[in-house]
Symmetry: C2
Subunit: 111 residues, 2 copies
Amino acid sequence: MSIASDLIRGHTDTIILAQLYYNDSYGYEINKTIQQKTAGRYELKEATLYSAFRRMENAGYILSYWGDEKTGARRRYYKITETGRDTYMRLMAEWKTAKSMIDSLIELEDE
Amino acid sequence: MSIASDLIRGHTDTIILAQLYYNDSYGYEINKTIQQKTAGRYELKEATLYSAFRRMENAGYILSYWGDEKTGARRRYYKITETGRDTYMRLMAEWKTAKSMIDSLIELEDE
DNA sequence: TAATATACCTTGACAGGCGAAGTATAATTT
DNA sequence: AAATTATACTTCGCCTGTCAAGGTATATTA
C-alpha cells in the first residue's frame, strides 16, 4: 500500500470534479494531469478512475459523451453537471472541516 | 454516510496512537476524548475502534492488558510500543505530505 | 517489426468502516 | 424497588472504494 492510497481515499471524486469544473476532459488526460501535478508521487489507478466515473455519472455529477477524434484511440469525455458543481463545493467545505478535525485529533497533547 | 467517514478513513490508527502516545488508555475513554475534542462532531464507531485495536496489536503497535478496577465494568487497557511510536511519527509525516497533495489536487485552476 | 504510448473496460478480491446485536456491571432516576 | 442510563467490551456480516490483473484497440517511435 503506497503512502497515499488510504489517505487519498474519499478524495477521488473531488479530484476528478475539480479537473472537470471548467473544462470537459477524459480519463487518460485527467490521470496524466494528476501525475504531473504531484510530480509522479500519485496517480489514480485505472480501475479506481473508471469506477469513479461510473459512480459519479449514476449520481448525476457528470455526463459522458464520445469524442470525435479523427485519429488515435477513441476518448470518452466527461462533463460536469450543475449538481456536480454543487457537490464539488460541498466536498471542498467538508475537506476543510475534516482537515482541521484530523489535525486536532492526531496531534500530541502537551505531556 | 456522515461527512467524516470516508475522509477520516485511514486516520483511525493515527488518532488512537496519538491518544496512547504518553498514557495508556482504554477504548471507551479514547472514544469519549475524541467526541469531546471534536465537540461531538465525530466519534469512532465501536466496531471500528475495537477492530483497530486488534489490527494494531497484531501489527505490534500496541499491547493490551486488563485493568484491575475494583468497581465498574472491566477495562482493557492499551499501551503503545516503540514500534507504535515510530509508526505514529511516520503516519504524521505521511499526513503532512498527503494534506498538501490533496490541497493541490482539489483546488480549481484559474480559468 | 517490436515496443511504447494512447485510451478504454471488466472481474474478482481485499480491507476498513459500521450497523446491529449481544454480554455484564454500576450508577442514577423514577 | 424497579427501570433506565452509563460504563465497557465483543462478534458477525454487509457495504464500499481501491486495486491487481487481465483484456481490447489504434497510432507512433525505435
